[in-house]
Symmetry: C2
């Protein structure tokens, strides 16, 4: 099936949403925890996380100008802190439920039954059910005028990962952690390793490591 | 294992690179094809793709200011067109090999043994070994001053997906297509579906669809 630019524009809204959301490949599925200055806790699921660099440790996430992303955005703009928590199969339905449009001031933690957990120096709540998580401090915002979304650039200020998942070279075995990946708006998956490959050089083929 | 902000800064460069790259979850692995105005073809692997919106259909990718990303960047800035191609297990080693630092003017297609394929109206080459791919036209660039990277925002102008993968609701079954996901800098994985979930509402639990 081929879709030209005008074909894409002509699709029914929901069809196009599913098509474009699943087109780009598998995505990171993370729960972002925030707290407002008034003390309201918020937990939202995001699939738009991306790596920017390791030194300094920077990452980005796209926030849409609609509920529930809007609460996350407001909390981060006012407090600068947010947590990012991997999702396990044991609570992926609760994670997905966080995308419902709860009223302002309602805590998704309470509604879906996940536990806010605090750590010293970080204002935003982590997800207590998981020990593979990190926290960011907002360092830049970028506006995408074409659709009103905002890219938040965060510096990673705290990491927690179980010891047994971190290799001698720093690689975290997130498959062993049963971290969930997602496709499109609503499809959740585990993974099965094909292989790790050596650093690619022009004068030798890559090999399994 | 916990790493504070200063712990992260103190890690050895390669350890930190692996740690931070694998921390954020599974990523989309895509081959980006470009062609310079002089006719040089380029193929580079990227794991920083992210979805921005479906209407208009927008996506982003982070480009580092080093080879081979730099060639991709220059080609896109001058021609505006680029293709994004899913990776299959049958050629994931060739895809990874594209990250080697080949000299300017050398075609990664030739070096790794993948086939450039052209379609009407799109200046950039697709990967002929795969029929799940799309093309973008550059619409915005955003600079991340903190580490010298550039975010390219593209509008999706062409999609090709096998008929049997596209559901009635527009969802593309990229697991059935054996599309590869990656973790960190060098780990490649297939996926295993847990479930698709219904649109989340505040007054009813989500269910499998």
């Amino acid at each position: 099936m081929q879709y030209t630019h005008s074909d894409i524009l002509l699709q029914e809204r929901r069809f196009r949403g599913n098509l474009i959301n699943s087109l780009g490949g598998f995505k990171s599925a993370l729960l972002i925890g925030t707290k407002s200055e008034e003390g309201h806790e918020n937990l939202a699921i995001f699939s738009s996380f991306f790596h920017i660099g390791a030194d300094p440790a920077l990452c980005g996430v796209v926030v849409r100008p609609t509920t529930p992303g809007l609460n996350t955005l407001h909390h981060i703009l006012s407090t600068a802190h947010y947590t990012l928590n991997h999702i396990a199969p044991s609570f992926y339905q609760q994670a997905h439920q966080c995308s419902a449009k709860y009223d302002d001031g309602v805590s998704e933690f309470e509604e879906v039954g996940l536990t806010p957990l605090y750590k010293p120096g970080i204002q935003a709540p982590f997800v207590g059910e998981r020990r593979i998580q990190f926290a960011c401090e907002l360092v830049q915002t970028l506006d995408i005028a074409l659709n009103g979304t905002t890219i938040l650039i965060g510096q990673i200020i705290h990491i927690e990962v179980p010891d047994e998942l971190v290799g001698a070279d720093g690689f975290i075995d997130i498959e062993k952690a049963s971290s969930v990946t997602c496709s499109g708006l609503d499809s959740y998956h585990l993974t099965q390793k094909i292989g790790r490959l050596s650093y690619a050089k022009t004068d030798a083929p890559v090999r399994l490591i």
